[in-house]
């Protein structure tokens, strides 16, 4: 059977002031109904751009090649109108900052109803009733009364619940959540992630969760794809990725993060965090270096061959692959 979402060799070239830049350089992954996939990477890795490509929201002038198959349709071939019918109907989206995703001048009820009316014929009363149900589904306290609330009257966690309710308004097949909890407090973050996980499990949607935080991913997604420099450098079942840390970048990302209890009871004055030297490359610079592995400049295991051609995917376990020449398969 064809998976719900299948991205194959996706390449996106963006126009910039310094000329066209290839921002996604061959991204491939698949996601089925009821499954969860995490995209992790730092700024400039291409993870948000991947999400925008799936939703057909790339900036003007972007050139796309490769394939995005969604429920049997080829999204890269759809025109704007067809994409509009899909977006919000079959693909729901949750963004990072709930305050800017909501309209400050409309009640949350009106905004949920608007999302439904965009795609379906519904009576006012029926839409209102459904909006109420949705707010209850996202566990909004006093859901009925909150329909009349404006975004500024809600807390950050409650606003994000509204955004999730809007994303679910038309029972989508795929939910894309781009850093959904980055702007929230840790305790609220946990509640919202739990909520998303529950909703995905109950409704059987596919979930694409995007984050820069390894910790958020650890117990939320079945599969994990690590992005760097516009490519997926490692992907596999989450426990295996965490256990194996096959790609040097995954290792660096993992080691750089201080972990609770990692310092031990006795403070060692000279203790240092392991760092990845250098910085996340600018896409333009990356392109100037043309061929080769995008991580080569920061990698401590680099050899000459790393600069010659982009490394092919090496199978390191069942359904687990990494793009690095230095991996002994």
């Amino acid at each position: 059977m064809v998976p719900l979402l299948e991205v194959a060799n996706l390449r996106v070239t963006l126009p910039t002031a310094r000329g066209p830049v290839e921002a996604l350089r061959g991204v491939s992954f698949a996601l089925d109904r009821g499954q969860t996939l995490g995209l992790i990477g730092e700024s400039g890795s291409g993870k948000s751009l991947t999400a925008l490509s799936l939703m057909g929201l790339l900036p003007e002038g972007a050139r796309v090649s490769g394939s995005i198959g969604f429920a049997g349709q080829e999204l890269t071939a759809l025109d704007d109108e067809a994409m509009c019918r899909l977006r919000g109907r079959r693909i729901g989206m949750v963004f990072q900052e709930p305050m800017s995703a909501l309209n400050p001048l409309q009640t949350v009820g009106a905004q949920i109803v608007e999302a439904m009316h965009q795609h379906r014929e519904l009576s006012r009363a029926a839409a209102h009733e459904e909006a109420w149900r949705l707010l209850e589904r996202v566990q909004m306290p006093q859901a009925r009364a909150r329909l009349e609330a404006y975004p500024h009257q809600l807390s950050g966690g409650q606003r994000q619940r509204v955004v999730i309710a809007i994303a679910l308004a038309n029972s989508p097949d795929l939910l894309i959540a781009d850093e959904p909890t980055t702007a929230l407090d840790a305790t609220i973050q946990r509640e919202v992630l739990d909520l998303i996980a529950d909703l995905v499990q109950i409704s059987g949607m596919g979930l694409l969760l995007i984050s820069h935080d390894l910790g958020v991913m650890a117990d939320r997604v079945q599969r994990l794809a690590v992005m760097y420099g516009g490519t997926v450098v490692e992907q596999g079942p989450t426990p295996q990725v965490f256990a194996r840390l096959a790609h040097p970048y995954t290792q660096g990302l993992f080691a750089a993060r201080p972990r609770l209890g990692g310092r031990g009871a006795v403070r060692d004055a000279g203790a240092r965090l392991v760092t990845i030297p250098g910085r996340v490359p600018d896409l333009f610079d990356l392109q100037q270096r043309l061929k080769g592995c995008p991580f080569a400049d920061r990698c401590d295991r680099v050899i000459d061959a790393c600069h010659v051609a982009p490394p092919a995917a090496v199978q390191v376990g069942p359904a687990h692959e990494a793009r690095c020449l230095r991996i002994a398969a």
Binding site: D185, R259, R263, A265, V280
Partner: protein, 275 residues
Amino acid sequence: MNPAAPPLLQAQDLGKRYRLPRRTLLSAAPEVQALDDVSFTLHQGRSLGVVGESGSGKSTLARLVMALETPSSGQVRFEGRELVRLPAAALRRARGDLQMVFQDPYGSLDPRRTVEQTVCDPLALLADAPRAAERHVRVDERRARAVEALSAVGLREADLDKYPHEFSGGQRQRIAIARALITRPKLIVADEPVSALDVSVQAQVLNLMADLQATLGLTYLFISHDLAVVEWVCDEVLVLQSGRVVERGPTARVFSEPQHAYTKRLLAAVPGRPV
């Protein structure tokens, strides 16, 4: 260190109330107790972490320590002096000893000013400094001081003439730290200094802050919602909930054996601790 000298920073029964807008025309304006009865002592060369959720009073505490606001009750003493009671000129001079580093390296640097202009700004505080060595920081000296501050954070002299947009997030935070260092401060109040940075860059900035503490004897008041980062940086920690200290102690102990329910909840919420 002279044992009789007062601690670098001391807060006693510190409280701050803010007045909210009146709900109706004739009712009294309601007040919110942003900070309530907070006391702590911070010695030179040490790091104190402040953790808690948004609204717990972390940033209010920072503003009171920096003498940007006057406490409603209690007091803050810096080297034994209550800064908010100093006359304006003396307060201005004292400010050179306290510097602040903010969360957002994009918002805290003026995009239209060169790195040199930004980094040298705090030197204006020292124009009438009582310390002879720091009086009259002249133009050529300014440049030398800026180079010194930049090299302390691992940037080069050539970077002085560039603008903020030419730097990455991590480099910008280094510039913000250089700006804080240029007055040779004793205390740095860091409000979520690495929260906006990429993971691989966070580690670089945290290591830099540790190095600076070791070489310059800096004292940090380190505010963060990230418990793992606080554990890494801080000797001691205060846990704030709704403006009150609910738990305090050596960081390792508080985080390994939390006593208060709120601390336990914060720790439980730390997203998955992958092993």
